[in-house]
Symmetry: C2
Subunit: 309 residues, 2 copies
């Protein structure tokens, strides 16, 4: 039995916490209202996973094996600081969006405490205590130095035995880049167009932009020393197809008037490009325009009629 902390138990963190709690010790740390609801009625999961789960919500004072970090990526620094203060130095596995989380963890705690990860499970927060498991997908984890360590095997095994299909990668940074590129295109475009993921594929101009954004991402990754092939374009189209009825997390944030992760996804790609003396104008434009969208009160009527592309 492993001992996990889920730090930032929103939709995804709660889903992981619920599944892991069936065979492991799990401490959920999240918003007060959500935790209170779980203490009262348990953690209810609907959708692909169905059940009521009972993770811990209070620290028993003993040591943990791993923190699974699932906060928004703009909160990573703050989260690591809080974890350090309360629990001391424990390995942290980031399952967040964005490109810099495991680097921030490594800088703050030391390299050996950082573990990289991505997941393509989809989950949405229905109400305090209740999560919707929208879509299943792989989870990929890996040590930053690429080694297949004892702990990474233990984590993967714990995840797998709880129904979280998990693969160990020797190139986790590359996997993180791939996910960031996919997100940069799908989240970026659906947020600007205010459409569902699948709608991008129904319009040839949007589809063309999806391709251009991916290719820009490939070039920036290459400048950073990470080779990602053009098949990422196809993969992005596949993800948009597979999640066609979903509203991307960035658009969800935008519609709720919340801060988005555009700075940590598209903005980070643009910053890395600059660092290497190249440009990423599309990612830069997307970053600025989505930040502008957060700041401008939109009081005009919506587009009412459809025109063929």
């Amino acid at each position: 039995m492993m001992r996990f902390i889920i730090f930032g138990a929103g939709a995804l963190g709660s889903l992981f916490g619920a599944l892991l709690s069936t065979r492991h010790h799990v401490l959920l740390i999240g918003r007060k209202r959500h935790i209170k609801a779980i203490e009262k009625n348990g953690l209810k999961i609907e959708g692909k996973t169905k059940g009521i789960f009972y993770p811990e919500t209070k620290w028993d004072g003993k040591k943990y094996d791993l923190v699974i970090l699932t906060t928004k990526s703009y909160d990573t620094k703050k989260a690591v600081k809080q974890i350090m203060k309360k629990f001391g130095r424990i390995p942290i596995l980031s399952l967040q969006n964005g490109l810099r989380n495991e680097e921030i963890i490594a800088e703050m705690l030391g390299k050996k405490y950082a573990i990289g990860g991505i997941t393509s499970h989809g989950a949405t927060f229905l109400q305090p205590g209740i999560i919707f498991h929208a879509g299943e997908g792989d989870t990929i984890i890996g040590e930053l130095n690429g080694k297949i360590t004892k702990r990474i095997k233990e984590i993967a095994e714990a995840f797998n035995e709880c129904g979280i299909k998990t693969i160990i990668s020797k190139e986790i940074k590359k996997e993180i880049w791939k996910k960031a590129i996919i997100n940069s295109a799908i989240n970026g475009l659906t947020s600007i167009l205010k459409c569902k993921n699948g709608d991008i594929l129904k319009n040839r101009y949007a589809k063309e932009l999806l391709k251009k954004i991916c290719i820009e991402g490939i070039e920036v990754a290459r400048a950073e020393g990470i080779e990602i092939g053009e098949e990422i374009v196809k993969k992005t189209v596949e993800v948009a197809e597979k999640t066609s009825d979903n509203i991307s997390s960035m658009l969800q944030d935008l519609l709720k008037g919340k801060k988005t992760e555009v700075d940590e996804i598209n903005g980070e790609i643009a910053r890395i490009a600059k660092k290497h003396g190249i440009n990423a104008p599309l990612n830069e434009f997307i970053t600025y325009i989505i930040k502008a969208m957060c700041g401008i009160w939109v009081d005009l009527p919506l587009i009412q009629s459809r025109r063929g592309p």
Copy 2:
């Protein structure tokens, strides 16, 4: 007295036709419902200009001195063809948006028949027969070869004596570029952000993009052999300020589900860049995303809350 045809008498064309009809012979050619309403009740102008005007709506069979072309820029070719067929070769003054109108006229009719022009009058179509004159501004006209000809002086004089403040330019192509760059930024951003012109200036990210789009336009103009200084950024900000409560023509089209002029403004800048082997990624992105907006049915709720930039 001069004899004018207004071809494509929408909001702007009707305004010019109304004003010119007070001292000149004006034939209005426009949509059937609009023309029918004018025949019945006259052409009513509200706003900065107030009155009922009586331009002609039927050809008296005599020759005209000038066609003033005010169709949408994606209809220029079709319009010139119709003009040629019905009235033969007459000089055509384009007061349209976009970068290629006078070139299309020159290619189709011969160089000496094309006259370039821009105007910053604002007008909106209220209903058939009724136009709102939203804002006054300069009109600039010029021969493509830069010469101050007899006809250009006559046209400017006719315009001025009817209250249309008009300047003759020896560098009309440069003026057309300036207006296109201003439009590329203001129309482009307000269409994506679905906001009024002035809202761009209230948000630092949107304002930064406005600047970047202008600078990209300056670079493409330079590649085309036209020197436009960085003061165009300031000028664009001024235009957005002066028209802060206006909904840009591109956004109006988008909101009505009509075809926009993005291809003739931003798209043309991107195409000219390509022709010279440079890139205009922002204008290209804007072109694609606005064309995607026309094609995607937006059925999501609007952004509801405001966040500081």
